[in-house]
Amino acid sequence: MTTTTTPRAAVGAAPRSRPPAGEKPLVTFEQANRRLKWALLAPALGFVGLMIVFPLAFTINLSLTDAFGAVNAGNAYVGLQNFADALTDTRRFWPAVGRTVTFTLGAVVLETVLGLALAMLLRKAFRGMEIVRTILMVPLLATPVAIGILWMLILDPTNGIANHLLGFVGIPPQEFLGSVSQSLPTLMLIDVWQWTPMMTVLLLAGLTTLPEEPEEAARVDGANVWQRFVHIILPMLRTTILTALVLRGVDALKTFDLIYATKGPGGGSDFEAETLNVYAYGLTFDYQEYGLASAVLVLFTLFIVAIVVVLRRRTERSAS
């Protein structure tokens, strides 16, 4: 962000350089403003702070105890035992990490590629543009739980329309969410259906801000569509793509509604769709393993923060 001197900054600097006499309104103004801005900020920041600071401290504290069954009765501090337990657990924890990474990477990469293709497809104005944009809005505003249940009907192994349609092209019926091996890929595809439009909307917004001249110049120089896309548009769109990746990536890592609604506790009988979020939820609310669950959540949060920090650093570098 470049800092240009706006009239506001000039007003802020003025009182110091000018003699106070005759400029009374502006001086008291800036002083009053200091109080005003905090008065306006306090409710919002105070609320978010209250809802997050104590809870995070509480969770971090719990992660160091052997809390089980109750959060406040007779818990002993066990140091980093919960973290050690989680990090050495190859039955539930590491597979959940793997699924979280697989789900997020698979879904977000597909959503970015398809979203970019779709944004390019819709970039130039055409008749019916408004209708297409309206249709794009529906999945990304729809309730994830309702979407999950809808896809359960569509993908029902015996009565679903999906297998019926696959039959027309000679593909045998699939188990989809009913099978251990297909659950995660199926969930990824549902996620792609729901969130590709989101990527498209974000990237389309980025595309409309790009200057047209570089592309025109390349066209005149004889670059074909693909060359113009790879060498002109992609580099200019880098910041928008990275920003969209951060937004979607964070949400994809935390995907809960869709998975829990379609696969239930533990992500299925074989934990086949159990991501970190679903695992932590089960530990907390089904098993009351508050200590261990808190440790998993602390690790999960650190993991997300690390990814955001890395991606944002990239974004800043590409923006400058």
Binding site: V48, T143, V145, V201, A205, G206, F285, R312
Partner: protein, 296 residues
């Protein structure tokens, strides 16, 4: 914060159509255009058919709904809607979702819009970036402490606790959208008003706030929809009396997984506000979403 704003005040009008019309099309260009049209139609079909399938299923009998050969050729019946709307628990949940959505959004607008103006006008981007934290932290890591905290206050299961938890999503969302919006408003107008004797707060109230009405509206609609869609907070913090629609839908499915018609009717009812928002507010919502895209 500064990095995670899309450089795009979208909702931008379509770019100069006359150029396309004016240019005479060569053969390959026409083929390209036709191919593009076909692709666009396919994409629209892929996106909208599942939703159409849901609405169709809601209008089918229970025999038709589990028979994939029926397709879209059937005589619609309102029985499913009649049945679910005769269910007191469902109507109660619908009302809960509405109340919680409206109240949490209204309260969030009241505290977040002035804060966004303060952040935007007084260049407090660092302070504003606090909202980022609220978007990153997994909701589950807050639920146990919230439950504990609100249980001490005797609030678990109340509407209030759900409103507060949903505000935790909508306050940062509205802040996020409106900071960008206020930064885009020319400060000169407010400066002029102040020179004419208004206080800074007066300038906010009489100049900035009215100008920000479209942005506030889109932020509010998005906040309502995120509240409407929210599942996990009500899953833990609500009781049977205050249960919201997503939780009801989830329970409904676990108990009566065979009643697809009823499930789809309930899911369709849930999707109505979303469809209304998409049809009437598409342009504004895009501007809001590109500024603050989150799912809660």
């Amino acid at each position: 914060m500064s990095a995670v704003t899309t450089p795009a005040p979208s909702g931008t009008p379509a770019r100069v159509p006359q150029r396309i019309v004016a240019r005479r099309r060569s053969g390959p260009q026409r083929v390209f255009g036709a191919l593009r049209a076909v692709l666009i139609v396919i994409v629209c079909a892929v996106i909208s058919l599942p939703i159409i399938w849901m609405i169709a299923a809601a209008l089918k009998t229970n025999v038709q709904v589990t028979d994939p050969t029926v397709g879209l050729a059937f005589t619609p019946t309102w029985d499913n809607f009649r049945n679910v709307l005769a269910d007191g628990v469902l109507v109660q949940s619908l009302a809960n979702s509405l109340i919680i959505g409206v109240v949490s959004t209204a309260l969030s607008v009241v505290i977040a819009v002035p804060a966004a103006w303060a952040v935007g006008r007084f260049r407090m981007r660092r302070t504003g970036s606090v909202v980022l934290v609220a978007r990153i932290v997994p909701a589950i890591s807050l639920l146990v402490p919230w439950y504990y905290m609100f249980a001490q206050l005797g609030l678990v299961g109340s509407h209030l606790v759900l409103i507060l938890s949903h505000m935790f999503v909508s306050v940062p969302l509205i802040l996020w959208i409106m900071i960008g919006f206020f930064e885009g408003l020319p400060v000169e107008l407010e400066d002029a008003a102040r020179t004419d004797g208004l206080s800074a707060f007066g300038a906010f109230l009489r100049i900035a706030l009215p100008l920000a009405a479209p942005g506030t509206a889109s932020a509010a609609v998005l906040a309502f929809i995120f509240s409407w869609n929210n599942f996990i907070f009500a899953l833990i913090l609500a009781d049977e009396r205050t249960m919201t629609m997503p939780v009801l839908l989830f329970n409904f499915m676990s108990y009566a997984s065979t009643d697809w018609g009823g499930l789809m009717a309930a899911a369709t009812l849930m999707t109505v506000p979303v469809l209304l928002a998409a049809v009437f507010g598409q342009r504004y919502l895009v501007a809001g979403l590109t500024a603050g895209a989150t799912k809660g």
